[in-house]
Amino acid sequence: MSWDYFIELFLGGLTRGSIYALIALGYTMVYGIIELINFAHGEIYMIGAFTALIIASVLSLFGMHQLVVLVLAVVLAVVYACAYGFTVEKIAYKPLRKAPRLSVLISAIGMSLFLQNYVLLAQTSDFLPFPKLIPDFEFWEPYSHIISSQELTIIATTVVVMILLTFLIKFTTIGKAMRATAQDKIMAALVGIDVNHIISITFIVGSATAAIGGVLIASHIGQINFFIGFIAGIKAFVAAVLGGIGSIPGAVLGSLVLGWTESFFTGYISSDYEDVFAFLFLVFILIFRPAGILGRSQTQKV
């Protein structure tokens, strides 16, 4: 009994952690490049989920096949999230590139507030039922009591996205340019890298993974509203900081650690204070190990 319960919590934590990882990547990549906490990132994730919901509902009403609906909804959600990420960067962050950090941060908070209320006003403040986009796989039937097909899909997608992302960053020209920009923007510009272009690409890639996370979790939980981006964003941020902000493997590790601790905490201790726990966790990390698990502590240059 207790062993089964442990396994259940472990897998639940793994699923949670995978979702956090997909969102945390966007934070960590953007932070790595322009040292900005993109407050609007949670909203991009929410918009991804909403777009998928809207597209899926419309297509289902036209009576399309479930698989076509799934593919189109995911693709369009990713496209739209990328478009939003790109536009947010152009409007709210690019004009402030030389401004003090406090200004950029306030601008990001404003953007987040705007996007939330935009969805609230244009759509609804109620929770909307999210269609079950991910089917139950037949071949997985025998094992579905351990882990459902949906959870399996979430974990598998996260793994694939991580591998693709690692490949993008380690082995492509764009990835090389991104790493160079993260190290030193002026130097990168001197060797012929279009820094603004690279920053845009970073926002687009981060938004895409957030949108994938949004679709997956919305179809797992089954309902969304305009406010889901806030808590998810905060938790993903906690995960990114836990792993060491700016580091991509760190974001994944931090997300998994946060997913597991949350899952065990709610399973064994109390579910009332789940969110309180995530925040307390953040405070403790920042006090005792501000650079995170994999991060290197930075010395500030004068």
């Binding site: 906490i37 809207i54 941060l105 306030i106 404003g110 507030l113 209320n117 309180v276």
Partner: protein, 403 residues
């Protein structure tokens, strides 16, 4: 030539925004009845707004860049006017007299409803001035400011409920508890800078709210605490109208007191230390300023006003619950400070009055309030980071003493 180029760019932006907002603005699916609602009118509106928004935005941006080269002639307008008034003794006396006359006659000239709105605006003035110490002077972005407000409100409600403590005793207690929580938050975040600080303070605010919501035995959870007594005046029983007017004058007194204290603080040793800390942490430490002490006093003194504001809020509404203390309350207060002008007292006061009173009188647009606040934050940061009435840096001069 340039104009046609601009129009082309704006058209492109309009098309882009129409594409961007298409699924969310145009389609609305009714999942219960399975009907799709197509709202093409919204698309047209977005297109028009996108066109003019992009056109105006870019022309402002060009002006701003030109302005920076020409040593910024933009700062005339309101700021200069204020400076002119405060600079000239006769004008400033006249302005003060007009304001004082308005303030005193206000509760007798307007209805109870208007007075109530004014009281909440004044509470926000106080909160704005308190947050101004933390954000505007010390440069520490605090997104959990509402937690101290909640702490003050609950301190009064609970102390009154359990021990029958009255408003006037609770007010200083609220201030002290606020300051205590300020230090409690300030201590762990001493080492954090800018963005980390924002997130941790935001988390702190949420922790307080979630505890108030979940700990039923302590705070009665989401249903809140009712029947909180209004402030007393020497045990004199007052009608609702009298008591509202009384709170109004009390609030005016509190705001004046806040302005006085903040003004004195700003030019004191500790105030200059805050400004130094905001400008450059390392240089400030190199000058021998104790960073930890300076930051903690900023947090504590900022939280003090929120604590007192909370006590007054609880006494005014006679009912509180955790829903009044969400993160967005903190953002509204931040918006007040940013719009008014970080570090500037006149700015913060006018920012609070504009942001709280305008939506109340434009009821028809009140649902767009938060949307507009978001836009204000972004636009102000891009075009006018100093706020409507920016802080004027005080210059200190040596006067040769004649010996």
């Amino acid at each position: 030539m340039i104009l046609s180029e601009e129009i082309k760019k704006s058209l492109l932006a309009a098309v882009w925004f129409m594409f961007l907002t298409f699924p969310i603005m145009v389609i609305r699916v009714n999942t219960v009845q399975n009907i799709v609602e197509w709202r093409w009118k919204n698309m047209l509106l977005v297109g028009i707004a996108g066109f003019f928004g992009s056109f105006l935005g870019r022309s402002f941006f060009r002006q701003k860049e030109k302005g920076e080269k020409k040593a910024d002639p933009n700062t005339i307008s309101v700021a200069a006017l204020v400076q002119k008034i405060t600079g000239n003794q006769r004008l400033s006396r006249l302005a003060l007299a007009v304001i004082a006359g308005f303030v005193i006659s206000f509760p007798f000239a307007f209805s109870l409803y208007q007075i109530n709105i004014m009281i909440s605006a004044l509470i926000y003035v106080m909160l704005g001035l308190g947050l101004n110490i933390v954000v505007g002077l010390a440069g520490l972005l605090d997104l959990g400011y509402v937690a101290f407000y909640a702490v003050g409100a609950y301190a009064y409600a609970l102390l009154n409920h359990h021990f029958g403590i009255g408003f006037w005793t609770a007010l200083p207690i609220g201030a002290v508890i606020g300051a205590f929580f300020g230090i409690l938050l300030g201590y762990p975040v001493l080492r954090l800078r800018g963005d980390y600080l924002a997130i941790v303070t935001m988390g702190f605010g949420e922790i307080i709210r979630l505890i108030l919501e979940n700990w039923n035995a302590f705070s009665r959870g989401p249903s809140g605490i009712a029947h909180i007594p209004r402030p007393a005046l020497f045990g004199w029983e007052m009608s609702l109208e009298m008591s509202t007017k009384y709170i109004y004058f009390l609030m005016i007194g509190m705001v004046l007191f806040t302005i006085f204290v903040v003004n004195r603080l700003q030019h004191s040793r500790i105030g200059r230390a805050w400004i130094a800390l905001r400008e450059d942490e390392i240089a400030c430490q190199a000058m021998g300023i104790d960073k930890a002490k300076t930051k903690l006093t900023a947090f504590a003194l900022g939280a003090t006003w929120a604590g007192m504001g909370g006590v007054i809020f609880a006494a005014k509404t006679t009912f509180i619950n955790p829903a009044s203390f969400t993160i967005w309350e903190s953002v509204i207060i931040l918006c007040i400070v940013v719009l008014g002008g970080m570090g500037s007292i006149v700015g913060v006061v006018s920012g609070a009055l504009v942001l709280i009173l305008l939506p109340e009188y434009l009821r028809a647009f009140s649902e767009y309030r938060m949307l507009v606040f978001g836009v204000i934050l972004v636009v102000m940061m891009i075009f006018r980071p100093g706020g409507i009435i920016p802080d004027v840096r005080r210059t200190y001069q040596f006067r040769k003493e004649e010996h």
